[in-house]
Assembly symmetry: C2
Homo-oligomer: 453 residues x 2
């Protein structure tokens, strides 16, 4: 039995079905929403106009799941878990019908809910979240009714900057209001500053270090901007890009173990700790950060899919593990690519690691090749050992996915000196003769040496 | 003393100079050509028109080297090495002046020479190599005199396919004649076939499995095409893209150790084996392949630069090593990207490795994202252990540099199963939720399991 019909839940269902046929294993899944297995990460690009329609974001419809022998019950909310009694209470949202259904094995894939600060006016018409396909549709409807005026995006993390691009490309004058000093708090502030500068150059107004205290409304109660740090930012459209938190109310009520970030805690097989027949994955769990050794909350579709695979295998009697993450994330604002993996300076300090940093400027192609554009790479290495701790990249064409090299190096526990010898692909259209990651590794190696013992 | 003023030699000179100042270390370099430190890899893009001029390909001019305290003697050929006597004999090509100069430490960076088969007509006007800046200039001069007719490219390796693109974009009808059945013999034939099909779709005529037996000439002795496999391929321009071999005649005459591919053999510090004060690097050496454990010949600017760094450090009393390569190479033909790392099937067999393969089709971006184009990833993994042995990728936007993930994984000795858990960057513009490399790793993991014990 699966609670939650999106990436983690339905990947688990599909993998379990691949492992065991309908004669051997009955699979029931409950989803309170109207859609299954969709790409929430694609919503900003749908709003921007890159993706032609909502259905393009749906990887597999309820009908397709049912055709594979999965009893997927849409618009059916699970309202209570009875773990001791091995049953869940559900409610059909359309009909109001309610009931209990028993299970042998339970998969919790309840996902995340958007952070929605309790501000005056937050629920006014004209305030939009962008977490669900319904949110995306509502925003697109608003754009078509009132195109090309002013928009305020609250938050400058991945969703915030992606929505800033989408609205800019829709012809809006965009202001991004962010509590952090710089956008992209997932980067160190010196790298976030590069994003800030680039967004400003694109014509986006970035207001940092400012908390939104109120959504402004007009006489009809419609949102007309936000107040932040005592200043008013008028806009016809307010988009909340503040991020999400684990949707674990059911799990909490059932006494399942939650971590410091509010996510479910699992073992390497994605089994909920202390519960033999309960698994959890996707945006409702915390994951082990392999670099810091601590649990983190990293709600990303790519992890949710991996979790689902592992859960589906294990729950159906197979074997799989999810060892953890190194914290890789990539994004873009227009042509500016943003990537990170591993620890930021403050993450390293928080776990007692002393480190050196190296920041280099390079280009994504040979300097003489057309389109060669600046790229900044920042690298953190442990003091003395020289072990790679993290990499952040901000640049143009080819910047983002370069971080994957560092992600693998982190997973392998490489030193920055070992990285200087990496045999990375070189040809003028794809890299300078020294790849920017290698240039950073050389400078970090020198910094480790200079820091001495 | 440095013999050869290109990437490896002048990197060594520069690194030695950074390590020790002019008061401590005298550096003399001999270069028989007219240019120093240039990017030969950029020549096809110069010919194609991507690079505006010859000087853009020169990383550092002789004057710049001299300004850093390096006595770089251009147009001066070293004609003999007296290793026992620690001196070299040289000849100034402009003046005919000759002499012997002594050294304490010697660096051999004599590079490569183009393979030029002894065919009838091979020296006719209209037959062009593309290894040196002079070659590039001669070819560009020929294009400007006789634009937009027919060209034959002999060879379909990296240089061959890059020149095919360049000439196609210059308006030529291009025929590529190749001794191998498929282009890109650095790939397995099944992956080379994808390159063949894509080149054909671009309008390039690819004639495979055929040896050129003669360069056809007209009454004035000018090249007018080639004969291959009994068929004539008429053309106004013949470009040799057959590759290069180590330029080690001097080293051979001096009794220095050469390997099976004709390149100098060094230790990990790039010291010529058995010779305390002689180093060698760049296109004149063989390198250790870390996957097969055998020496290979991999003439690439990126390795030459690394060699130079290591040599410059060591020769100036510092420390550095070049551990070896995993065989990464990337290229493109128009918008088709081609990448490989590690072992091909025949390489694995040649060293006694039993393996499984997995080939998957995916896309470089989320399937719903604009510009998402097919990408084929082939992965080789060792039988039983599941250790990654090699990856080949053919596809469009974002295909080539994805191979870097596999290059790091090879260096780290990862299994394909460990790779399935890699935390690679995901966002719709940059990757499907399962990166193509992860999809290949999953299929390869299944293949290892299916092959059993």
């Amino acid at each position: 039995m699966i609670v939650g019909g999106d990436a983690a839940g339905m990947s688990a269902a599909s993998q379990a079905r691949r492992t065991k046929g309908p004669q051997e294993l009955e699979i029931t899944a409950f989803e309170r929403g109207r859609f299954s297995s969709y790409s929430a990460c694609g919503i900003p690009y749908w709003v921007a106009g890159d993706v032609s329609g909502r259905d393009r974001l749906i990887a597999r419809s309820p009908e397709e799941h049912r055709a594979r022998g999965i009893d997927l019950r849409m618009r059916t909310e699970v309202t209570e878990l009875d773990v001791a009694g091995r049953r869940v209470r559900w409610r059909a949202l359309e009909t109001g019908e309610e009931g209990w259904t028993g299970y042998d094995k339970l998969v919790l894939a309840t996902g995340a809910r958007p952070v929605r600060p309790p501000l005056p006016g937050i629920d006014a018409p004209g305030v939009h979240g962008v977490q669900t396909l319904g949110d995306g549709q509502a925003l697109l409807d608003a754009l078509s009714q009132e195109p090309g005026r002013r928009a305020v995006v609250v938050g400058a993390g991945y969703i915030g900057v992606e929505m800033a691009e989408a609205l800019l490309r829709r012809g809006y004058a965009v202001t991004v209001v962010n509590s952090g000093e710089q956008p992209m708090a997932t980067l160190d502030p010196d790298m976030g500053r590069l994003v800030h500068e680039a967004m400003t150059a694109m014509g986006i107004t970035v207001v940092g270090g400012t908390e939104v205290t109120e959504v402004l409304t007009d006489g009809e109660g419609r949102a007309r901007g936000v107040r932040a740090g005592g200043a008013d930012h008028p806009a016809e459209l307010v988009v909340l890009g503040i991020g999400v938190e684990p949707e674990t109310a059911l799990a909490r009520a059932a006494g399942l173990p939650l971590g410091a970030h509010g996510g479910l805690l699992t073992d390497l097989g994605m089994r909920v700790r202390g519960h033999e027949d309960v698994w959890a994955g996707g945006d409702c769990v915390e994951v082990l950060d392999l670099v810091s050794g601590r649990e983190r909350y990293v709600p990303l579709g790519t992890h949710a899919n991996k979790h689902g695979q592992v859960i589906g295998s294990n729950a159906a009697g197979g074997y799989g593990t999810f060892p953890g993450v190194v914290g890789t994330a990539v994004s873009k604002v227009c042509d500016l690519e943003i990537a990170r993996t591993g620890l930021r300076e403050k993450d390293a300090r928080a776990v007692g690691l002393r480190f050196v940093t190296a920041t280099v400027e390079s280009t994504g192609r040979a300097g003489y090749f057309p389109g060669a554009a600046p790229m900044t790479v920042k690298m953190l290495a442990e003091y003395r050992t020289g072990r790679l701790l993290g990499v952040q990249i901000v640049g143009r064409d080819g910047a983002a996915k370069r971080v994957d090299v560092a992600a693998v190096a982190l997973t392998a526990g490489m030193t920055v000196e070992a990285m200087t010898a990496l045999d990375l692909g070189y040809a003028p259209p794809f890299s300078p003769v020294w790849d920017p990651v290698l240039v950073a590794a050389r400078k970090a190696t020198a910094a480790v040496r200079a820091a001495g013992a």
